[in-house]
Symmetry: C2
């Protein structure tokens, strides 16, 4: 099967680029002397997770219990579910652990810690929990110096149904950093803050074995992770136009694309229409408002070569509208109806979520493998 | 099973509201004396399509061949695939027709008409085709008075492998109308333009049996559809915050919601976090820039009552961040961790696309049915 034979829209993974991206991050983790625990939320695919582990099963991070189940079924054992767990989800979570996985959770609230412990006691069970630390006021978690951090730690440590395993953070603010200096500062702030949280917990006489940080931008720009035990990062496997805009990669590193086909010419409006619309590309416009705005994704030809002057202006449900970037006349003869194009995502995690599988190429236009992914919750 | 028992995030359909929305549009089509051919792209679900047909199989519109297959398998026969077909997709399309469905297509290009005819001749087959007409320069299609319209009609009419069945349009511009007068004008412009296209084709001595128009806003505000034979509309089944903003419905008519759960309190930032993030809500922000901007959806309590002062400010992959709309202090005690909320979508078509099923309620908190939906291409 060749790219030309694929029904569009569909996803293409360039395996060479994927492996390069993965190896670069593996090397980074090795150099910084931390365990590499990739966040599999981006690809949600076993072959990609295995590549991240060096052709082996390694520690992973997941964003849904559905992912935890999917990867546990495939033999992955060391898993952190990096979204706050709530008591209502413990029965399902426990079933995954009962199946053999060493699944760990995060929380940021002492009441929840006590409720989880109660559930554990009732079920003769100990839940392994990390505390989410907020290093940049960007998402969830407690500040490293918040008195509440120690209250949560104590509740987990003293609870008979819980085990305090460490601290975890996500430096989301790095997505708002637009210079190398800012990104290096964000990485160092993340390190300093998460290690301070760990130190505060240890100083209070409690254990804090895992010190987990991550985000592709901070992982890319970190020069020192002293005190940190593991590195999570997710989108680096595919990269995307937003990461390229931040400087985490080049556009040429982007390993994921939506293959689509030109289905209509609007001769009186200087635009063409493809079959990759808002569902196929996602409505994510992360790059909007930046100087690397690329609409709904970077337009490339079927071989992946970026077509600098084309721009996905709008995306209806099943129609993607492409114009010239500079408003010049559209050269319709260069893109006959039936022409395949590839759109490199603004945000790979969101774009990939609309699909159940990846078509994998490896240096030519032949589809060498088809990889499944899991979706939903 | 009760709403409280559902694992979140998941979708809820309020069946009463759904039926009211559907009956209103059925009545509208009846009053305007046109065939009702709902666009099933929003719900992509057989029970919803059956309700649209008055508890029966009726004519439908689809946005993907996957939908065509799904509905054809369920016994739907009269189907229009309302996205430009291309020769590369004909083999799969023909298989659906071979299976018994009367599947019709749209195009807007004479070369494509000839290529489809050639494919038909080669396969001893006749493809039924409508011409897409552009009434407002918003998406694909040919203008009603474009000479090219007659070229396409002639190619279809004279091609031995094609049958010219009529004209079809989508008044996409209606989504940019913000007053009743503008919407009524858009509806009348759509009618005038599509009937002009039909008249031009007939005047040239060719048939034009189907004259199909649609979009929820124009269908809602049309007072006269003289000359039109059928009405398509899609999002009306669920409605959404955008349609409510346009005046096509009230917020209370919105039949679809994302059930989610509060998973974290950010006490130092006056915000709560739920487990419905960008995948669960979609990244669609249709209402952005309007005076009915609702972020990533309208926040309601578990009973569907809209909480006017809450606002989904941002949506990371699996985290939805809710603040007060007016910046006032957040009353955390009113929303303990574990509280279920319902988010009414900005754009139902995009939000529903992340899920495989709907949980149906009917006047109480009991889940009375679970309905499947199809996704992908």
């Amino acid at each position: 099967m060749q790219i030309n034979d694929l029904y569009t829209p569909c996803l293409i993974i360039d395996k060479n680029k994927l492996k390069t991206n993965i190896n670069r991050m593996r090397e980074k983790a090795k150099k910084l002397n931390v365990i590499f625990r990739p966040h599999v939320k981006t690809a949600k695919s076993i072959p990609v997770a295995l590549l991240c582990g060096g052709d082996a099963i390694g520690p992973i991070t997941v964003s849904t219990l559905r992912e935890a189940e999917y990867f546990a079924d495939a033999g992955f054992t060391d898993i952190i579910y990096a979204v706050s767990i709530i008591p209502e989800k413990l029965t399902r979570a426990k079933a995954i652990i009962d199946g053999g996985a060493d699944l760990k959770f995060i929380i940021d609230n002492a009441d929840i810690a006590r409720k989880i412990s109660e559930f554990g006691i009732k079920n003769n069970f100990i839940f392994k929990i990390l505390i989410e630390v907020d290093v940049d006021m960007h998402r969830a978690g407690l500040s490293a110096d918040a008195p509440e951090l120690l209250n949560v730690a104590r509740a987990l440590h003293e609870g008979a149904g819980t085990e305090l395993c460490g601290v975890l953070t996500h430096a989301g603010e790095s997505y708002d950093c637009y210079s190398k200096a800012e990104l290096m500062n964000a990485a160092e702030d993340e390190r300093a803050s998460i290690t301070l949280a760990a130190q505060n917990i240890r100083s209070a006489g409690m254990p804090c074995d895992i010190i987990s940080c991550g985000s592709t931008p901070t992982a890319t720009f970190a020069n020192d992770l002293s005190g940190v035990t593991e590195l999570r990062a997710g989108v680096f496997v595919f990269q995307d136009a937003f990461q390229a805009g931040l400087g985490c990669c080049s556009n040429d590193d982007i390993a994921l694309s939506v293959l689509c086909t030109v289905i209509s010419h609007k001769n009186n409006q200087d635009r063409i229409i493809t079959d990759a619309g808002g569902v196929a590309l996602s409505k994510d416009q992360s790059t909007r408002g930046t100087d690397f705005d690329c609409g709904y994704g970077l337009v490339a030809d079927v071989n992946g070569k970026i077509l600098d002057n084309l721009f996905v202006t709008s995306a209806n449900q099943e129609h993607g509208i492409i114009t010239t970037k500079d408003g010049s006349e559209f050269d319709f003869s260069a893109y006959p109806i039936g022409t395949q194009l590839r759109i490199l995502p603004n945000h790979s995690c969101m774009t990939a979520a609309a699909y159940n599988e990846y078509n994998v190429i490896d240096g030519s236009s032949e589809i060498v493998e088809t990889w499944q992914r899991c979706n939903g919750w």
